[in-house]
């Protein structure tokens, strides 16, 4: 699956870049603007369809925010109002009283932030070695990583859980990992297993492969060590790739639900997606508070996406895999 995807992905990225660079000159820009705003019946139909579609796509987000600002009486009204009659920002502070969403938020931030850093550091080191340094066994390591990349999460989740539970000498376990709870309900469980995914190594390798050979030869002539070449010469050149991978990994970790669900039960370790799911199960959950919490859980990613849209899109085209 993977080898095929990447070649396709690379072509796609090239295509995007060519397209984005197309309209540079002022004359072209002018022609462009005229083309863009020409009114034809076909265009009107296109706009009507796209507008209806995009409004439907946005509707859940709109509804989330509107609900989070409505009073209790207004929420129970049917048919519901499209714009709140009074904007009740107090819902947010009351939601924080009902469940410690600020802690959940902080935990998610710590987890996603840590994973972003470890993924970029470990992934770029590994990807660099696989792309630019000849060493015995390189092929085997690479094939192994590609094979691991195709392992579905659900085939390994049970054993991963057991490994965390049986971490020796942690959480009351003896040296054989028996007797206690190991890493369950600790930060280790939240942080360590997800610290690196094979996809990250693979992507970094692809990015480093695209750099010219002359660079490292020059660096070697200057007497730089392999690590110095990696750190000072090559890595600064793949900065866009780093941003792309960092964004995707942050998003993936922030949105992840299954793993925190399995390994944490303590409230002070709950990440925000898990916090939402638990909050919903409590009996008198108010929809306004739930939607306030949901807004908090989606906002960082929405903002990140809007700021770094270009990188997100490039990353998706490149990896062609979700997240």
């Amino acid at each position: 699956m993977t080898a095929m995807d990447t070649t396709a992905g690379d072509e796609l990225v090239v295509a995007t870049e060519v397209f984005d660079a197309a309209d540079a000159s002022p004359a072209a820009a002018k022609r462009d603007r005229r083309r863009r705003f020409r009114v034809t019946p076909g265009r009107i139909v296109t706009h009507i369809l796209l507008m209806a579609g995009s409004l439907f796509m946005i509707l859940p987000f709109y509804w989330m925010i509107v609900t989070s600002l409505k009073g209790t009486g207004e929420i129970a009204r049917f048919p519901p109002s499209w714009i709140p009659t009074s904007w009740r920002f107090a819902n947010y502070s009351e939601a924080l009283d009902a469940a410690p969403f600020h802690y959940y938020f902080r935990n998610s931030l710590i987890r996603a932030g840590t994973h972003t850093v470890t993924q970029v550091i470990l992934g770029s080191l590994g990807g660099y070695a696989l792309a630019r340094i000849r060493f015995r066994g390189r092929e085997i390591v690479f094939i192994g990583i590609v094979a691991m990349l195709m392992m579905p999460t659900y085939t390994i989740i049970v054993t991963q859980f057991l490994m965390v539970k049986k971490a020796p000498l942690f959480g009351g376990n003896d040296i054989l990992g028996v007797g206690g709870t190991g890493w369950l309900d600790t930060w280790w469980a939240l942080l360590i297993p997800g610290a690196l995914s094979p996809m990250t190594v693979f992507l970094f390798r692809q990015f480093y492969l695209s750099l010219p050979r002359e660079l490292e030869e020059a660096a070697r002539l200057d007497g730089l060590s392999e690590f110095q070449t990696y750190l000072r010469i090559m890595t600064p050149l793949v900065k866009p790739a780093i941003i792309t991978i960092a964004l995707l990994r942050f998003q993936e970790s922030w949105n992840n639900f299954l793993w925190p669900l399995l390994v944490t039960t303590r409230e002070d370790l709950r990440v925000i997606q898990l916090g939402l799911a638990v909050f919903r199960q409590s009996d008198q959950t108010s929809w306004a508070y739930l939607m306030a919490g949901t807004t908090l859980a989606t906002l960082p990613i929405i903002l990140l996406f809007i700021v770094g849209q270009k990188y997100f899109i490039q990353g998706i085209n490149r990896s062609g895999l979700k997240g």
Partner: protein, 299 residues
Amino acid sequence: MTVAVKHVKYPTLERGRRRAGWLLVAPAALHIFVWITIPVVVSLWLSFTDYRVLRPPRWVGLDNYREIWNDEVFCTALKNTAIYTFFTVPASIALAVVIAAMLNQKLALRTWYRTAFFLPHVTATVAVAMVWIWMYQPNVGVFNALLQSIGINGPNWLSDPNWAMPSVIIMSVWQGIGFKMLIYLAALQGISRELYDAAAVDGAGKVRQFFHITLPLLKPATFFVLVVATIDAFQVFDQIYVMTRGGPVHATTTVTYEIYESAFQAFRLGLASAKAVVLFAMIFAVTIISRRLVGRDED
């Protein structure tokens, strides 16, 4: 030849480089080996054991697989996963290709459209599922309000066994369009404009151009999207867990949800591993079949 010369010239340097290679790749390789390779092997082994956490695993051969085979709920889960995949994947692909084709031109508001269609993909499934649960509420939800305004009495959505799966599917289609649209947009930019200009000269309208030029040329992209989306759909979990918990009466139980139930509700880790192996086999089959098809295409 050159390599040989280098070896003679800088033997120590070469060795240092080799060692550097290993040093740099070691942390990554080790992490992946410990957290993925070992679990894959252990999971396979566990699937042949009876393991209920408290007592050590006991080898039972194919018992777990036999139990799965005769388990009606698991068969329902297989069927539900197939239904979910069968409806979610083609629907989101069809919508994505049409939207991408419409967006593949100089158009006012193009960025807005693209952002709107893509946004659901980047947001967490759990979070957006919360919003959809709220919108699906039979008595106060926005969907039934909209339906009522055009004179239709809306269903009970998630709590109706006949509507629960369609409800999950609708949400997943909504969330899945953006990613596929993006792949298509990139693929479309590789198609030469001249083809369309020539077709226009020949008097082919936009719709005919779409069916006779765009769609055939998008075949590789479609194939890729189809495989990735199918593998993804086989592993649907978050929205099932949050929206329906597999219910009502197993109407939305999927394979992943069954794995979760066996492992973390019933604490039968051996049985759960066997179910996970079945899921792996399904995904593997899709990968192999797709490889074969691609191979034949290239010949």
